[in-house]
Point group: C2
Chain length 258, copies 2
Amino acid sequence: MMMQRVTGPRWKGKGFADIAAENPMSQIVKKLESSMKQSRIKAILTGSVSLLEASTELADLLNRSCIGRQIPNAEEDKHWFQLSSEETMYLQHALQSLVVVDEKGRPLNDLELWNVMKDRREAFLELYKAYVHLRGKNWVVRPGSQYGVDFVAYRHHPALVHSEYAIVVLSEGDGNGEKCSRLREWSDVQCCVRLSGSVAKKLLAFFIDRKGIDETLPSCIQRFNVEELIITRWVPEQNREECHKNDDVCNSEKVPAT
Amino acid sequence: MMMQRVTGPRWKGKGFADIAAENPMSQIVKKLESSMKQSRIKAILTGSVSLLEASTELADLLNRSCIGRQIPNAEEDKHWFQLSSEETMYLQHALQSLVVVDEKGRPLNDLELWNVMKDRREAFLELYKAYVHLRGKNWVVRPGSQYGVDFVAYRHHPALVHSEYAIVVLSEGDGNGEKCSRLREWSDVQCCVRLSGSVAKKLLAFFIDRKGIDETLPSCIQRFNVEELIITRWVPEQNREECHKNDDVCNSEKVPAT
């Protein structure tokens, strides 16, 4: 019988994979979307993030979708969430479920919000594209600053599963001959791979190519090209001929091939 | 039941994995080694490669070990093999199974051969380190020029299995501030990943760090540091939640986890 190596998600408990399968993230986000649309939810923009007041029901949906960060407060039926700039743009522009207002309470339309985000946050275009791209594939995307990367991605809710990918978003240059400033040297890449590996994540590099694309309207991000590379360490010993045999070390990482 | 993605070797036929398991490459190479030692085999150095005359028995062992390239000739019991510079050095210095002679028939000792190879072939140090490193882990290593890389690596004999890795050998610089000249740009990396992927190989980048190491003696290569990175494309769709369900597209790539 042939043995092959398996890599996959690290679920946090027994049966959690089934719970995830029975509750697809796409449906949870759909519920959030329709609930927010019905209630005409507003968020106040401060800097490049926004603040949202949520009912208990909405708070539950936001938490289950893993969108926003709940800010502790004492009131029982009022909940506050801070949305990152990507989440703010995603809820307003991609899901059309949020109205972002400025500090005076004036609503910002998609274009105004787009311009504010572009102005206030460096690399917003690339980061937002990466966020939308991953959310569109039903990945849960959270900030990665804890690991020195842009995002971490989860197969489902972080309560069920560990994050699988540490994501670095790189730009292919904006036509001015500008180069990615990070991961320029292979030693940087090795460093980042080791760091990700030490927390059991794979390094995923996103290359966002927005050369020659007019960035006036937020819809332009659909035309940005995304190229994704996974970079991992290779352990030649894991592949040696000894692993064809039935020793325990090898089998612990293998399953029979069908 | 949880489904996980499997990657592994592509055997060329049914039962070939078993044939490989029953005939470990390490034992085949050991047989070659002792046979060559007994017969005091010589090879003639021409440029940076060498030529070896082999009996039918030795030719069989060389072919089974996948060392050297047999040169067609008409005589039935005389066989000629061309050994690459890495193979020549490996057989003489690492396996101590070969005596390399110059065109006048004078034997070259390990140090003389080392100096000739270093002089005649750019990047010999890195390429040889990569070759020895892989052979030491029982990988079959063949030239990769066909795929625009330095080597390809097979789990066993190429008659049994397709090569799994396309290998690019990069130097960490020799202390003179010299940089790797290949894969300097991420676009080069993407290109190489795509090319490797199109021939069902994974791109494996070897970083050979020989900074601060005296390269006078061939034994120095033991102190070169090797860092290996696997770089592959990521297909987010393969990881989507639909794959938790029992649809055929997903299952074709999955096996049940134990």
